[in-house]
């Protein structure tokens, strides 16, 4: 016990018993995540300024290369590194528990880092201009697939270390009764992550051997099924982790508690059971599938996963309202909302993330996942419009909101630039809103995603004229600039806190 005592400190702010090896792993993963966000963000600006046809900054080859790297760094590396940091926080720190095998955590980190670097180098040297989806038979250098496989194996180790850790913490009686709701949500995310990472292995391990020439025919239809079992489910991990973080932020900023633990926990269970069916959204206008399978899968089997989101959309604001009214903000219908801590970046990030995820990302997901409507949107800019509302305005902004608490807590340093931090979610949200609208309107006019030049100048036949393209693509570009400024402010605050933040007593 004596040596164990040395490995813990008591956090003066939260009262948590913080296991120092867990703390070091959290910092390492979170810092790497922010570096990936930085790379992805710079690329985002360059890509957006190329899609803005009036600017068309990059040549075609660099546009496709950077688009590939942007997808990999944002959708996978930034988010998963940050999620792993969040898992160690929820599975050890929040339970006042130790991290059982820090060495396994470092092994996972090493694998993920090696994989991320390998994939990035392969992309940037021009050996993998295949997009994030790497649709077979477009072939990348074997190192591209190997990098992703290594990353996925590392993530699998980290996720299961978290699951084991929760069980061990319970056995060691670090907490009594059920796990906290946030940890429960993270457990749900971890279960979905296991499914996702195994699907990733099924897609990428054959692709690796195929790229080596071990076998020659990899069925493109089968690859799409396997890939989206990974690609879309990965976003469902994000969804689940994001909702858990919403609950955490509502407690941290307003003292809200779950209005009904049963309702919230059942909703997380519905995610586990039904949300992975949504992967089929990507295959709605593919050859080879029947109508029945399309309907069952894309409706998440009767929209039961959507029901889960509707539950959270009720219980999180309700929890905040109850907490605010208890503080005396009980006048009329909305005083509780008016008097909410809007200058607290954690709260504004929660509010903007919840509204943009729900009203823009979630609704468009359900609409675009309707069979008939999918024919009108497939592979148009409406698709990136949808997932920038979910993964960026939703998940990324929620993660940023949590980071404003996680970084000071884990580094024992005061947050640098608090004033700027309280503006950051608004700037980021506004930029994204403009960019996403630009994408939606462009997509509705038929403008494809993933294309360097819609005028197709130099082709044998004339390209279509898209109505209003110069305006809608201009919105995309301007919105992206504002969003990148917002993202840059977050990174600047995170890095300066880490390096120059005023030391607080541990």
């Amino acid at each position: 016990m004596a040596t164990e005592g040395l490995q813990f400190r008591t956090c003066p702010v939260t009262g948590f018993n913080v296991h120092l090896p867990a703390q070091r792993l959290i910092i390492a993963n979170a810092v790497t995540a922010v570096v990936c966000l930085l790379i992805g963000g710079v690329l985002a600006l360059l890509i957006a300024l190329t899609r803005w046809e009036a600017v068309q900054l990059l040549p075609a080859n660099l546009f496709y290369r950077f688009l590939t790297a942007h997808g990999a760094n944002m959708l996978v590396f930034w988010i998963v590194f940050f999620e792993v940091a969040g898992l160690y926080f929820g599975g050890a720190v929040m339970l006042n528990a130790r991290l059982v095998k820090p060495k396994l955590g470092w092994l996972a980190f090493a694998l993920m880092l090696t994989g991320a670097i390998m994939t990035n180098i392969t992309i940037f040297t021009g050996s993998a201009d295949v997009m994030f989806t790497a649709y077979v038979p477009l072939k990348a250098h074997p190192a591209f697939y190997l990098g992703i496989i290594l990353f996925a194996v590392g993530a699998l180790v980290a996720v299961n270390l978290f699951l084991v850790n929760v069980v061990v913490a319970k056995m060691e009686r670090r907490f009594t009764g059920s796990v906290p709701l946030v940890t429960y949500g993270l457990v749900a995310a971890a279960v979905i992550a296991d499914f996702t990472l195994i699907s990733g292995a099924i897609a990428f391990i054959p692709a690796f051997f195929w790229s080596l020439g071990v076998f020659t025919n990899y069925d493109p239809g089968a690859y799409r099924v396997f890939f989206w079992g990974f690609g879309h489910s990965a976003q469902q991990i994000n969804l689940c982790a994001m909702v858990a973080i919403w609950y955490a932020l509502s407690t941290l900023t307003t003292g809200a508690k779950p209005v009904n633990e049963k309702l919230s926990r059942v909703a997380f269970l519905l995610y586990i059971l039904f949300i992975n069916l949504g992967s089929m959204h990507h295959l709605l206008v593919d050859p080879g599938l029947g109508t029945a399978s399309r309907i069952v899968n894309t409706s998440y089997f009767m929209y039961l996963a959507v029901l889960a989101s509707m539950i959270h959309a009720y219980s999180i604001p309700a929890g905040v309202e109850v907490a605010q009214r208890a503080k005396g903000y009980a006048k009329g219908l909305f005083q509780w909302l008016k008097k909410a801590p809007w200058k607290e970046p954690g709260f504004s990030a929660l509010a903007i993330s919840l509204v943009m995820f729900g009203f823009i990302g979630g609704t468009t997901g359900v609409i675009q996942g309707t069979l008939q409507l999918n024919m009108l949107v497939h592979n148009t800019l409406r698709i990136p419009g949808h997932f920038h509302a979910t993964v960026v305005a939703g998940t990324t902004l929620a993660f940023m909101g949590l980071a404003y608490y996680l970084i000071p807590l884990m580094t024992c340093r005061e947050l640098v630039g608090k004033k700027l931090a309280s503006l950051q979610p608004y700037i980021y949200g506004l930029g994204l809103l403009i960019m996403i609208e630009g994408m939606f309107w462009s997509g509705s006019a038929g403008i494809p995603r993933r294309t360097w030049d819609i005028s197709a100048s130099g082709s044998a036949l004339a390209a279509p004229v898209y109505e209003g393209a110069s305006f809608t693509l201009g919105l995309l570009g301007i919105g992206a600039i504002i969003a990148v400024i917002g993202g840059g402010i977050f990174i600047a605050i995170a890095v300066s806190t880490l390096l120059f933040g005023k030391k607080q007593p541990a």
């Binding site: 493109p220 609950y247 309702l263 539950i311 819609i454």
Partner: protein, 175 residues
């Protein structure tokens, strides 16, 4: 108690009235959406095609070539122009070309057999904005009935390499 701490011992508690109401409305709406998806599938005029056949690039190239040989009426910029009767028409996607150019009659019903000879492509008819995925090894049969004369473009909207943005095809609909 908060979402960051363990809940009280017994947290399995009945829902209050507002919660039941919200849950009821949401569940009903989810169910309506689900049923409507099936209803549209049965009664809508414009549905996702499901007819699919296996093929190989060699086989499909041969079929398209004989189709072109039968109905070719000219060429435009090296791409054959065909004027087939209503019924089966064939369209190949390959880097970075849609071939042939199709001249169709307004009101005629055509069964487009679409496949790729190399990578995955996206079959996007503009300005109608109808979009389908095209895979090598699969023939996707898409039944289309033009209802307005004019020129339509086929844009590739799945990334297929550096010349992806140049991949434009054409359908001409005549009265």
């Amino acid at each position: 108690m908060s979402s960051l701490a363990s809940p009280e011992r017994i947290w399995w508690k009945p829902l209050i009235r507002e919660e039941r109401l919200w849950l009821g409305v949401a569940l009903t709406w989810c169910f309506v959406l689900f049923v409507m998806m099936i209803v549209w599938g049965a009664v809508a005029n414009q549905n996702v095609p499901v007819e699919t056949y296996r093929t190989t690039p060699e086989q499909f190239r041969e079929v398209t070539n004989s189709f072109v040989g039968k109905y070719q009426v000219g060429t435009e910029n090296g791409i054959p122009v065909v004027r087939p009767p209503a019924g089966d028409v064939y369209l190949t996607a390959s880097t970075w070309l849609w071939s042939p150019i199709l001249e169709l009659k307004n009101g005629g019903t055509y069964r487009f057999h679409v496949s790729s000879l190399d990578f995955q492509h996206g079959f996007s008819i503009q300005p109608e904005n109808l979009n389908f995925q095209v895979l090598p090894g699969y023939i996707y049969v898409i039944t289309l009935t033009p209802d307005e004369a004019g020129e339509y473009q086929i844009v590739c909207n799945e990334y297929c390499g550096i010349g992806h943005n140049l991949m434009v095809g054409k359908i001409i609909v005549t009265e």
